[in-house]
């Protein structure tokens, strides 16, 4: 019987960075949501009540930004938009409809993953800047009230866009079998790579031989 060949997709550092980001993201998202809608205020209990939630949320938010900055440095190069990505997007509908025979062109990341990566980069930058503007008691006092109001509404809206993106990200990991293994174990079967990331698989095996 032929043994499965594995390709290294994520280093130990990549995986630690990613999961630190996941934990921090959940903490900010849940604490933020508790202050966003009354029906979710009960989530503030997880953080020690309303005042503690208000105190912790911005600090954890800064850590999310720093943690993502680490991912950015690791992954930005592989997320540069290429000509193949247009073709992937054109074929994405067939993939979503469940056509298992479809193999779309993708390097280390497909177009969908790249869109999410840049969405995260942009939304986190906006969240950092707008969040600082109404961070009490430290910074809000330095900004005029109109700016505080604008920052508040932009912060909420941006956070929701990011959360929607993360919902898609998590679902994609559940939907595409074998994907979570990349982030938990670091390696993926070569067959998985050839199916989902043919360009990357070709490059990795070429490097090997």
């Amino acid at each position: 019987m032929e043994t499965t060949r594995y390709l290294q997709r994520y280093s130990d550092g990549d995986r630690i960075n990613h999961w630190a980001l996941v934990i921090l993201f959940f903490c900010t998202a849940l604490s933020g949501l508790s202050m966003f809608h009354p029906s979710l205020f009960f989530l503030s209990t997880l953080f020690g009540g309303g005042p503690w939630t208000r105190i912790l949320h911005p600090f954890i938010g800064v850590l999310v930004f720093l943690s993502f900055a680490g991912m950015y440095l690791r992954l930005a190069r592989d997320n540069v938009w290429t000509a193949d990505d247009r073709a992937w997007l054109a074929g994405a509908r067939a993939l979503l409809a469940g056509r298992k025979d479809v193999v779309l062109p993708a390097g280390r990341y497909n177009a969908g993953q790249k869109i999410l990566f840049w969405l995260m980069a942009i939304t986190l930058a906006v969240l950092l800047v707008t969040g600082l503007i109404f961070w009490r008691p430290y910074f809000a006092g330095y900004f005029p009230i109109g700016m505080v109001r604008l920052a508040t509404v932009v912060h909420s809206l941006t956070a929701v866009v990011l959360i929607l993106g993360i919902i898609v990200h998590i679902y994609a990991a559940i939907w595409v079998k074998g994907t979570t293994r990349a982030m938990t174990r670091g390696v993926v079967p070569e067959s998985w790579a050839r199916h989902h990331h043919p360009g990357w698989a070709a490059q990795m095996t070429r490097d090997k031989h």
């Binding site: 499965t4 508790s34 202050m35 966003f36 809608h37 009354p38 029906s39 205020f41 503030s44 309303g50 005042p51 939630t53 208000r54 105190i55 993939l95 979503l96 409809a97 469940g98 298992k100 109404f134 009490r136 008691p137 809000a140 009230i145 109109g146 505080v148 109001r149 604008l150 508040t152 509404v153 909420s156 809206l157 929701v160 959360i163 929607l164 919902i167 898609v168 679902y171 559940i174 939907w175 595409v176 079998k177 074998g178 079967p189 067959s191 998985w192 050839r194 199916h195 989902h196």
Partner: protein, 289 residues
Amino acid sequence: MSSLQSLDIAARSATTLPSPSIRREPHVAKLIDVTSCIGCKACQVACMQWNDLRDAVGDNDGTYDNPRDLTPASWTVMRFSEVEVQAGRLEWLIRKDGCMHCEDPGCLKACPAPGAIVKYANGIVDFISENCIGCGSCVTGCPFDVPRISKKDNKAYKCSLCADRVTVGLEPACVKACPTGAIRFGTKDDMKEFAAHRIVDLNERGYQNAGLYDPPGVGGTHVMYVLQHADQPQLYHGLPADPKISPLVALWKGVVKPLSILAMIGAVAGAFFHYVKVGPLESDDEQAH
């Protein structure tokens, strides 16, 4: 302040269901007749005394305003404005500043902490400090720049219209202390009627633009002013001519908040049913096993 059982609650921050509200209570109002005010600051002293607040000694900025601004420990401040509405005729306008107790309170709309801000059935808007989380959203929501966050405890403070006195049938402390009768308290209807008489009197004395300040943009207020120049409220230390809850705050709480929850539930439900319909996406390797 505290929750008062004998005062029914008409609105409660970050709460979706109605609060206890079976009793019928008349709307109350404080009427501040700016034209009768002599700027003695007895109201400020009475406010400090009743609420047991002692602000730090500040510094003089060349005006009579003392302290310079509202603070967590100074819930009312006399604002002195020197204006010439007619050239060569100096007027000294003195406005008692503080919470206006809006019928549609922007602070309450913006507050994310359940029950940290309440509007009693009689119209008084009050901060329930033990529920306050110190986020400052009330400051963001207020069209009058009234709430102040304490550096000591990170909680928001403002005039309570002496809700604790009103509930036991007393008038607010500032009203009791005013030596000229410039501050009055009663039902909102009575205060409007009294104001109407004052305005007729002022009209007869040459103040053609005298009028009542009860701005409709915030549903009216439970603190009203009689102004000799009601056509130019900005003269009175920048009293807004047409105060409204900022459209940004309305967008945040009225549109983004409800639609976002729907979008997030929709995304999760959409993902779940996509999986139910289409099933997992497997590569050849896994299908073979």
